[in-house]
Each structure stands twice: as C-alpha cells, then as structure tokens.
C-alpha cells in the first residue's frame, strides 16, 4: 500500500498492531506489551502512539472493537482482527518481505 511506504513509522506500527491481533482479541495494553516483547524494544515507540493507530485501523474496518472485561476484572476495550484486516495483513506481509529483500540485496551489493 502506497501510504504505508510513504509513512514508514506509521505503516510499521499498523502492521505490527495487525500482527499482534492474529493471536486473538486483545486490549490496547496487551497489544503494546506484545510489540515491546517481540521487537525486543528495537523499535522504540511511545506507548500513547499506539492508540491513534488502533482507532485509525478501527475506522478503516481492519479491526473491530468491543468493550469487555480484562484478565484482572476491569472494563477494557478489546480489539479483534476483521476479515478485511486479515487480508490486509497478508498483503502487507508480502510487501514488507520483498521490500526487506530488496534492501538487503542493495546493501550486500554495495559491500
């Protein structure tokens, strides 16, 4: 998707959020924790930045939200990947992989 390429950080975050939700419905905090853990804090983002991304994806219909009860018995907003979101994630995965390969190739050639 062209907007992703243009805005790398935002695009990256969106893909990470979608990926985080493939394991099932999560609230925002859990999504943040998952990203933190899996990227081993390589990608430093402010935790707050996660929420506009979540809301944007919700508005686009890539994820759906619902209020529910969290593991510690509190009211929390849970997000879930929609069918459209799942397809979008697949497409993004392909784009990212070819992008990464291309960059890697360029960098190896330059050595």
């Amino acid at each position: 998707m062209s907007t992703m390429k243009m805005d790398l950080l935002q695009g990256t975050l969106d893909v990470l959020v979608l990926k985080a939700l493939t394991w099932g419905p999560q609230h925002g905090y859990a999504v943040g924790r998952w990203i933190e853990r899996t990227t081993e804090a390589v990608l430093k983002i402010e935790e707050g930045a996660l929420y506009p991304a979540l809301h944007r994806l919700e508005r686009k219909g890539l994820i759906a939200a619902e209020w529910g009860i969290s593991e510690n018995n509190r009211r929390a907003k849970f997000y879930q990947l929609t069918e459209v979101g799942r397809r979008e994630l697949q497409a993004q995965t392909v784009t990212w992989q070819s992008y990464a390969q291309a960059i890697a190739k360029v960098l190896q050639a330059a050595v």
Binding site: E46, E47, G48, Y51, H55, R56, E58, R59, K77
Partner: protein
C-alpha cells in the same frame, strides 16, 4: 456499564466518544502502573510518573483518538441510516405490491392531481413567472399617448421623434406598426403571391430588444430616415425557411412587396420572439414633417439602468407638457403613458385566470391528499397487527413513523412519475384549447423548472397525506393489541382519535369540493350569459373574406370601383342573398375610434370632444348582417364621393346625444382639421361586434364611397344557415373567380364562417370554464368516494355493535337513520365550511365574471344542494348495508 440510548442522544456522540477514549487511556495507565509495581518494584507514585512518561503526551493522544472516533461514529450512523432507508423502501415496495388495488387507486389519484398541478404550474411559469425572452426585460416599457377620453392612443411620427430626442431616462426608444404586405415573387419558382403579416419598425427596435440578425444585418439609421435607402427588408426566420429554403444567399435578393421593390438585407434568428406572426420587417422611417395628430405608431422603450419607472414617467410627462405648449393645435390635452412590457403582454385578466386555475388545481390536489389520507387511515387499522409486531420487535415510534412516511413518499413519487405523463398530455390539450388567449402559450413546456417543481410537490404531497395516518398508526398500544387477541385494530387508527381525524378529513374534502364547484358554477353561469349576449345581428349563413388592395396601385376611385364591382358580382352568385363590407372585421384587432363633436357646440379643447367607434361600410353591410334600421334611411348609391357627407349612427349614440329628439338631420364634426359637418341620415340597432362585455359603445357608420379604405372584410350572406364545408369550398372557388375577374393579382384568403370569428371572444372564458369545470367534476367524484369510503368503513367497524342492536330488537330503519344522520352531519359541516371558504375566495374571480356576482346566491344554493345530494347518496349505500346486517354475525364475527 451500558449507557442508555436516550442519554447518548442527549449528550451527543462527542461526549460518548470522549468518555470511551478517556476510559481506554486510563485502563492502559493503570495496567502499566500495576506492572511497574509488580515487575520492577517501583513505589506507586513513582510508577505512575514512569507510566505517564512512557505513554507520552496524554492530551495529544486523547485528542487524536477522539477526532478519529467521532468521524467513525458519523460514518457508522450514516451507513446505518442508509441501510434503514433501504430497508424501509424495500418494505414499502412489498407493501405496495401486496395491496395492488389500494396502490393503484392512490397512484391514479396522485397521477391526476400532480399531473394537473404540474401542467397548470407550467402555465403559471410561462405566463407569470418566467422573464420575457429579452435581455433585462424588466426595463422594457410600452408607451402610449393619452387624452381625457382614452389612455391608449398610438403616437404620431413627430411626437415619437420628440420623445426619443428629448427624454433623459430611456436608453433607447423604438416605434413599430403591424402591416400586411403582398409578396410577389421576383424570380421563377418564387411561388404564388401571398399576403404576409409584416411590421414597419424603426432601426432601433432590434437593438432595443437585444436581437441580432442570424444572417446579414438589421436596419441602419440611414435606412430608417425619410428619403433614405428605405427599400430594404429583413425576413422572419419562418418565412426564410418556408419560402426560401433557409438559403443564406437570400441576402441581396430583391422582392416585390406591395408592388415595390425591396432588397433583403438580413434574416432574424428563430429565437426572436417579438410578434411571432410577423414574417417580414421593413423600415418605418418616421417623418418629423408629418401631422402631429396622425397617431398610428406603437412605441416602446428601454429604461436606462437604475432609472425607476416613476422617474421615466415624470420625464415623459414633462416632455408631453412641453410639446403641448409648443404645438397647442395638435398636442393640447395630450399626455403620455408608460407601462412595463410584462403588463402589456400579459393582460391582468389572463394573469388572474392563470392564478385562479393554479389555486383551483391546488385545492384539487389537497382534496386528493385528504382522500388518500383517509384510505391510509382505514388501511392502518387492518395493518395494526403488523405494526404492533414491528413495535414489539423493538421499532421505536419515530422509526415506525419514518417507515410509514417512506411508504407515502414512495407512493407520491410513483404518482408524480405517472403524473408527468398526465401533464404531458394535459399540456397538449391546453395548447390546443387556448392558443390565442393565453399569452406565451407556445413557450409552455415541461422543462427543468417545472420538473423541479414536480419533485418538490411530490415530496410535499407524500408527507402531507402520510403524516396524519403515520402519527395515528404509530400510536400502537401493544397491550391493547394483545388484549384484543390481535383482532387487527391498532388502537390509534381505529379508536376515537382516528375516527375524529377521519371525520375531519371528510369534512375538509366536502368543503374543498364545495369551493371548486362554486368556482366552476360561477364560471359556467358567466359563460352562458356571455354566450347569449344579444349581438344585435344575425351571423347565420354569413361567411367572411378579408381583402386588401395595394394602396400604391389603387387610387381612391379604383378602390371604390373595385369593392362595388366585387360586391355586385358576388351578390349575383346563386345562393348569395346579400353582400356588404366593413373595414373592421368583427372581434378583430382593428378597433377604429374617432373623436367628434356636435355641430354648433364648437369645442375649445381636446377634452370637449366625444369619442365613438367608427366603421366604413358599403350599402349592403346592414342587410348582410340583418342589422335593423330604427329611423331614417340606410346608405345608398347616392351617398357618393362629393355628395353631402352622411353618417348612420347606432341607437346608443342617438339616445345619448339627442334624448327625446329626432336625430335625423343633425350634424356632427370630426376632431382636428377643419372638417365638414356630417349629417345623420339613419339610426340602426346596437350591435356588439368588438367586445361582448362592457357598456355598449357609440358607433358611427360612414359610407365607403366617402371613406375609402384599402382593406375590407366582405360579409356574404348565403341562403340557409352556415354552409357546410363542401358547400363552403364551392362558394370559395366561385368567389375567388369573381374577385380575380376584377383584379387577377389580388391574393384571396379562404372563406371563414362568421360564427367562427364570433367564437374568438368566447375562447378565453371557455378555456377557464372548461378547466374549472373539469377540476370541479373530479373534486365531486373524489368527495363522493371519500364520504362513501368513510361511511362504509364505519359500518364495517361497527358490525358487531349494529348486530347487537338488531338482535336486541332495534328496527333496521333506526340503524339506517343512525348512519344517515352521521353522514348528514358531516355533509352539513363540509358544506358550511365550503360555503364560508367560497364566500371569501370567489372575489378573486370577480374580474373574470360577466354579469354574475361572485356571491351569486343561486349558484351557491344550487351547488350546496348538489353536493348534499351526492353526499347523502354516498351515505345511503353503507346505511342500507348496515340495516341488512345479520344479527347472528355479531356473535360469530372474529
């Protein structure tokens, strides 16, 4: 916690979104604090500070999230609404299909109502609303000269030129005069000689009206001056196409018009709409040296931008006063008058007629709406179970109303679509019915403006007839419904409120019908009176033909000889009883008037003169029309040029000039130049040959031999009544042969029965009467079905109650009486209301009525009786049915 829907609505979606965002962020922070305490062992205060630091700018995040959320909510609502509308429409369509008879009746009613309204609106649009087809038409004015006797005299050449030169308020001024011209081809294949409607105009006319030639050019100032190159002509677009095959090389060709050679210099565009019947235009070339009291020019002007009509009038008044001082002989007591073009082209009466028709058709549409409302109400009672079910399934009242309104708007939309087809047909009828009467009728069409009107109208109609039933039906009482075991009566629609609403609607229907019937009745009464006006002559068997001899080829002597010989030759044809001629054909456009005075009462000023119609007639004229001689004698061959100048006058003139005296031998004088006295030799009966209504005017007849005129209308009285068409054809051939025996080159138009010309002044009233009559008839039918419907409905609703009464020993006639009295009560209320309404409204008809008061008690009474009779008949059938109810039904029903 679930926030109740009402709460959400009150605090708006922004509040809800903000709340959610805040809660979500708060949850995040709390989770982080908890983790920091548990995993990293921070103290609660420090943990909170750390959590906030990691989160970043809370305010900014909240703001961004809220913005996204609000946008998302709006989108969701919009798509939900769209889905609901789609659902409602689908549901409505199913409802329409499920009740095809009901749907058909409603759509038919609406198609007729909206179609008629649309057609009449397009008339209103063309006649009243739409600007004239000229640039800045509101600045165009028409000018007349005035004197104490009349306020619309034509103008004279020198007066026009002085007006044009001296005024400071008009950007331009132009003069024109309609003429008829004989066109004789100048080349092989140019066709037969024809008479054409033409106009002599000043060069300024075309720029004044914003017109440019489509081919070539229009007149230059040099061609519009006496002694200039005035033998040039501009062709109308129609003539150019018809006669010259739209050949642009026609410019430069020479035509023979009226025996003179004219060079074609241009062709007007088809869009040039001034005087559509005019086909050829020649320069007027006004001459400042001509007589100031020879008034024959029609004058128009264009106000300078920003100049008011009042200012221009004051300017012209000043000029007229100065001219009166400068030329007292000719201009004393003469003023100037100026009115906007629109007012001149659309006579106030025509405007009034069109507005009355529009109001009438509006009333009819209202009536149709009331009828449909009632149908919907009745239907809602049978739909009670369905609506109750929807309510039980969670549809709110607003939702139900919206759904019901969707149904009625859909019905109205379908009706309007069908109505457009009706309007198309109606317009064709309108054009056929009133071409001369309604100004600019040729411009009437279903264009974008009219379509927009229809669209708004259908929407408004749908809501109008749908709102009351929707409000009623949506007041479904679930409990009542369940208690009744779903007997199918929505409490709202069938209950007392519903009944009151239905009664009110029927009363309104009757009142509307009453008003329309009275309007139509007045128009019919007026028309019959007008048709039966005693015209004072006998048109039966008379045929007319209008002849015009070219003035430049015919001397006065030759004109006299020509018409004498033609009259004699035609008079000798078999079947012809007598032949006369007049220079003013009956109910034509030419209404010659003259100012005169009685000999011996030498007038000092213009205002002392009297005014009368005049005609130049041949001796046979009176006999051909059967006009009775009251005193003295008619013209004879002795009243020739050079003999004593004589006149015959009508009874009205004799009575007003010489009451109780013998008018024979009295003398009158014309205004102006030293004229010789004319002796009255005879008095004839009054005739109405110019206008049917208004006061009888004074008429002076002059012998043709003493007052020659280039165009004359021959009146040929034939044996028997008006001849049939084949007969007319034979006569036509014979008459043309006789005329051509005298002048081979004279164009002779077809014969027309005089009765046909007499229909002209009746065309306008007939047009109005027919339309109003049709509207009223439809209104009567609608009102009758309305009354019938509601009474039948009442009987059906009360079947059980009536059955019980009958079972308990009530007489059938008492049941009949019960139903009839309710019908009668409704009728009385409707008639009374309609009577009052008509009493208030019919004064707008006053200017259209002849010899009929707008509150004519005979017509009011007759209409009230008619409507009451129809309404009672419509009640009678349901009453009969009620009386025939089998008492056992009362216990088995349901």
């Amino acid at each position: 916690m679930r926030i109740p829907a009402g709460f959400r609505r009150v605090f708006g979606l922004r509040g809800q979104v903000a709340q959610d965002v805040a809660a979500e962020i708060e949850f995040h922070l709390e989770m982080r604090i908890q983790d920091l305490i548990e995993e990293e062992g921070l103290a609660p205060a420090a943990a909170r500070a750390e959590a906030l630091r990691r989160f970043g700018d809370v305010g900014d995040v909240r703001q961004r999230c809220e913005a996204i959320g609000v946008r998302r909510e709006k989108e969701t609502r919009r798509s939900e609404l769209l889905a609901e509308v789609r659902q409602d429409v689908g549901y409505a369509v199913r409802q329409m299909v499920r009740a095809p008879f009901f749907t058909a009746i409603v759509i038919l009613t609406l198609a007729l109502g909206i179609g008629a309204t649309t057609a009449i609106f397009s008339l209103v649009d063309a006649v009243v609303l739409r600007p004239l087809p000229y640039p800045a038409p509101e600045r165009l004015v028409r000018l007349w000269e005035t004197n104490p006797q009349s306020d619309h005299f034509s103008s004279s050449e020198p007066n026009y030129l002085d007006w044009r030169k001296e005024n400071r308020t008009l950007a331009e001024m132009a003069a024109f005069k309609a003429v008829t011209l004989s066109l004789v081809g100048s080349q092989e294949g140019d066709g037969e000689p024809v008479r054409l409607s033409g106009a002599a105009v000043t060069a300024s006319l075309f720029p004044l009206l914003g017109a440019r030639a489509a081919v070539g050019r229009t007149f230059s100032a040099a061609e519009d001056r006496p002694g200039g190159e005035t033998q040039v002509a501009v062709l109308g677009n129609g003539l150019w196409r018809r006669r010259f095959g739209a050949d642009p090389r026609v410019v430069g060709r020479v035509l023979s018009l009226e025996g003179k050679r004219y060079t074609v210099i241009g062709v007007l565009p088809a869009s040039f709409a001034f005087s559509p019947e005019t086909e050829v235009w020649i320069p007027l070339a006004p001459n400042p040296g001509n007589e100031r009291d020879d008034k024959w020019l029609d004058v128009m002007g264009r106000l300078k931008p920003g100049v008011s009509l009042a200012a221009a009038r004051a300017d012209l008044d000043g000029i007229a006063r100065r001219l009166a001082e400068r030329y007292p002989e000719s201009n004393r007591d003469w003023g100037a008058r100026m009115i906007p073009f629109q007012e001149w082209l659309v006579r106030p009466q025509a405007r009034q007629m069109v507005l009355v028709l529009f109001s009438a058709v509006g009333l009819l549409l209202l009536l149709g709406c009331a009828n449909i409302s009632n149908l919907l109400l009745a239907r809602a009672t049978t739909r009670g179970r369905e609506l109750g079910l929807r309510a039980a399934l969670g549809a709110g009242r607003a939702r139900l109303i919206r759904q019901l309104l969707t149904e009625s708007v859909l019905l109205a939309g379908t009706g309007a679509a069908a109505g457009l087809a009706v309007a198309q047909v109606a317009l064709r009828l309108l054009r056929a019915l009133g071409p001369q009467y309604v100004p600019r009728l040729e411009e009437v069409s279903l264009d974008g403006r009219v379509l927009a009107f229809t669209l708004v109208l259908s929407l408004a109609t749908g809501i109008l007839f749908g709102i009351a039933p929707a409000l009623q039906a949506s007041r479904t009482d679930l409990h009542a419904l369940l208690r009744q075991g779903g007997r199918g009566d929505a409490a709202g629609a069938g209950g007392r409120g519903g009944r009151r609403l239905r009664d009110a609607l029927v009363i309104a229907e009757l009142a509307l019908a009453m008003m329309l019937l009275i309007g139509a009745g007045l128009m019919i009464g007026s028309f019959l009176r007008l048709q039966n006006v005693d015209k004072g002559f006998d048109p039966d068997g008379v045929v007319v033909v209008k002849l015009q001899v070219p003035e430049n080829e015919y001397s006065e002597e030759r004109m006299r000889a020509f018409f004498a010989e033609v009259s004699e030759r035609i008079g000798n044809l078999p079947g012809v009883v007598s032949v006369g001629a007049t220079n003013a054909d009956p109910f034509g456009l030419f209404e010659p008037r003259i100012n005169y005075t009685v000999d011996g009462q030498a007038p000092q000023r213009q205002s002392d003169f009297l005014s009368a119609d005049w005609r130049s007639v041949t001796p046979g004229f009176f006999r051909a029309l059967g006009i009775p001689l009251r005193k003295g004698r008619l013209f004879s061959a002795e009243d020739r040029d050079g003999a004593e100048k004589v006149v015959v006058i009508n009874e009205t003139m004799a009575r007003s000039l010489w009451p109780g005296e013998d008018p024979i031998g009295k003398k009158i004088l014309w205004t102006g130049l030293a004229s010789k006295p004319r002796t009255v030799i005879g008095v004839v009966g009054d005739i109405r040959d110019m206008q049917l209504d208004g006061e009888t005017r004074q008429v002076i007849f002059r012998p043709y031999a003493q007052m020659t005129w280039p165009w004359m209308t021959l009146m040929i009285k034939t044996a028997g009544t008006t001849p049939g068409l084949s007969n007319l054809g034979n006569l036509s051939v014979a008459i043309r042969r006789e005329i051509h025996a005298v002048d081979r080159d004279l164009p002779v138009p077809d014969l027309v029965p005089l009765r046909q010309s007499l229909a002209a002044p009746l065309a306008a009233p007939r047009f109005g009467m027919l339309l109003l009559g049709v509207f009223a008839a439809v209104a009567l039918v609608l009102a009758a079905t309305g009354v019938y419907g509601i009474m039948m409905f009442a009987v059906t609703q009360q079947t059980r109650e009536i059955g019980v009464r009958l079972a308990l020993g009530a007489q059938p006639w008492s049941v009949v009486r019960m139903i009839l009295s309710r019908g009668l009560l409704l009728t009385l209320a409707g008639v009374a209301l309609g009577w009052a309404g008509a009493f208030g409204l019919t004064r707008f008809l006053a200017s259209l009525l002849y010899g009929t008061a707008p509150t004519d008690s005979l017509i009011f009474g007759a209409v009230a009786l008619l409507l009451a009779a129809v309404a009672v008949t419509a009640t009678w059938l349901p009453a009969r049915r009620a009386a025939a109810i089998d008492p056992r039904l009362a216990f088995s029903a349901d």
